[in-house]
């Protein structure tokens, strides 16, 4: 009868953050991301030779995820973890911990692809959020990623477009740097963009074949534009900041939407799901809503806490793989370059 309830503990440590989440039957019970507060609650950071942040974080994060969920280790049915892609040193910590815990508890281990998890985050049970219909197009937009994936089924995915240089979040952050804004600059550019004229300044969109993206040239174009204008008027940025932000945002969103339109046309798919931290941007949300009216799209955006790097999205993949009986071998290893 134990199979009626499926408890998954998920661990994510692919980049900067250490995160853990507990899921019951596709619903999130807890979703914890490491921060300094966790150290305070557990007696502070213990300095040790060549310690890595994930090593310090992983035990308190997992303990807190279990505690918040009100779940005992003995209730868990499987441990899911991020196998890749990501930083090798970071992945190793999560992988070793997950393997040891699964071995100790004598329960199955499930390896998860981080990029697949960004997409399957849409399938976490959450009130007021609809799950996409297959097939759909998933666009992941964040500080590190910009890609369009054709999703035919949970585990049948194909990358049909991706950035050939900078990610879209990086384009926001580096534009912000040029303008003297803080880091991360995306939210402030978005806020100012809403008070500015998007057509005040024109930046050329890159010409990239097919469904791939490029943002590197835009960054350089903005840099040269600002250098030229501030030479003529040292107060140019201050006097035009909202208009500059609006024009940058207009250009970036134009690039994203143009490729989505092309992808939709080429594949005939009108269900479009977006994820990644940049999906919080008000301009992209509005552009997607417009797409529903103009092109007959159905669009999906998950709850914000499931769009950035988090363990809840690892948990849902763990849950779906558990249902399929897709477990890892004991000799599974982290893979920094894991592909979709």
């Amino acid at each position: 009868m134990a199979s009626q309830n499926i408890y998954i503990l998920a661990i994510e440590s692919s980049c900067d953050d250490t995160a853990a989440s507990v899921m019951l039957n596709g619903r999130i019970l807890s979703n914890v991301v490491a921060n300094q507060k966790i150290h305070e609650e557990y007696g502070g950071v213990v300095p040790e030779l060549a310690s890595r942040a994930h090593q310090q974080n992983i035990v308190p994060v997992v303990q807190q995820a279990l505690k918040k969920a009100g779940v005992e280790k003995s209730q868990l049915n499987a441990i899911a973890f991020t196998r890749g892609p990501g930083l090798m040193g970071s992945l190793l910590v999560g992988t070793s911990f997950a393997k040891s815990l699964a071995y100790g508890l004598n329960i199955p281990l499930i390896d998860v692809n981080h990029m697949q998890a960004h997409i399957l985050a849409h399938f976490i049970d959450e009130e007021d959020f609809n799950k996409p219909e297959f097939p759909f197009l998933a666009m992941t937009i964040s500080g590190g990623h910009t890609q369009i994936v054709k999703v035919s089924n949970y585990f049948d995915m194909e990358v049909i477009g991706e950035t050939i240089d900078d990610a879209v979040g990086e384009a926001y952050d580096k534009s912000g740097k040029i303008l003297g804004l803080g880091y991360p600059a995306g939210p402030e550019i978005d806020k100012r963009a809403q008070q500015g004229n998007p057509k005040a300044f024109k930046f050329t969109k890159p010409k990239v074949d097919g469904l791939n993206f490029s943002f590197s040239g835009l960054k350089t174009a903005i840099l040269y534009f600002i250098q030229k204008e501030t030479k003529a008027n040292p107060n140019f940025i201050e006097e035009n900041l909202n208009d500059i932000c609006a024009s940058i945002q207009y250009t970036i969103i134009g690039i994203l939407i143009d490729k989505l339109k092309l992808a939709s046309k080429e594949t005939g798919i009108k269900h479009i799901a977006i994820g990644g931290g940049v999906s919080a941007n008000s301009g992209i949300r509005k552009a997607l809503k417009d797409g529903e009216k103009k092109f007959g799209w159905t669009t999906y955006i998950p709850k914000f806490e499931y769009t950035t790097d988090n363990a809840a999205m690892i948990a849902i993949v763990g849950h779906l793989k558990f249902l399929e009986g897709e477990f890892s071998q004991n000799n599974v290893v982290a893979s920094a370059r894991l592909k979709l």
């Binding site: 030779l49 970071s90 050939i164 240089d165 990610a167 580096k174 960054k219 350089t220 920094a336």
Partner: protein, 151 residues
């Protein structure tokens, strides 16, 4: 050595860099937008890799492979202190036999291998780039004692 080039010359420049490099660790200094990633893209191609080269600003390190080599592409732009680089195991990468192409090395002056080749890229108003080898950029190393503090 100094070479002036346009973006259209990037492939012959990449070839010259590989030929001239005295070390498998190459540091690329230069302002944002000067074309560090673009040059590295061409270098990776010339090293025989077909992998997609994209900016590692967020991921910190990308790994590419060619039939004969592994190539690590670093970007320390968003690093705020050197401890973050140690935390992800930068030393394990630096002291491997792979190619190491490094953007924003000025963020981690104490962690740079001593034998690294140094390249500086400058741009002028007309979009022309100048590439300088072996510029004596003074790496402002902290005293060893201070370095001990975060270990």
């Amino acid at each position: 050595m100094e070479i002036t080039y346009q973006i259209s010359d990037i492939h012959s420049i990449a070839e010259a860099v590989i030929k001239h490099a005295s070390s498998r660790t190459i540091l690329f200094y230069g302002e944002m937008g000067v074309g560090k990633t673009t040059l590295i893209k061409a270098i990776v191609e010339h090293l025989g890799s077909n992998d997609l080269v994209s900016s590692p600003t967020f991921s910190l390190v990308n790994e590419y492979s060619s039939p004969s080599d592994t190539i690590f592409h670093f970007d320390f732009y968003r690093i705020e202190n050197e401890e973050e680089a140690l935390n992800f195991g930068v030393e394990d990468y630096f002291y491997s036999s792979a190619w190491k192409l490094v953007e924003w090395p000025e963020k981690i002056p104490n962690l740079i291998p001593d034998d690294a080749e140094i390249i500086t890229i400058l741009s002028d108003e007309n979009g022309k780039r100048t590439l300088k080898f072996d510029q004596n950029i003074k790496l402002t190393k902290k005293k060893p004692m201070e370095q001990q503090n975060f270990l």
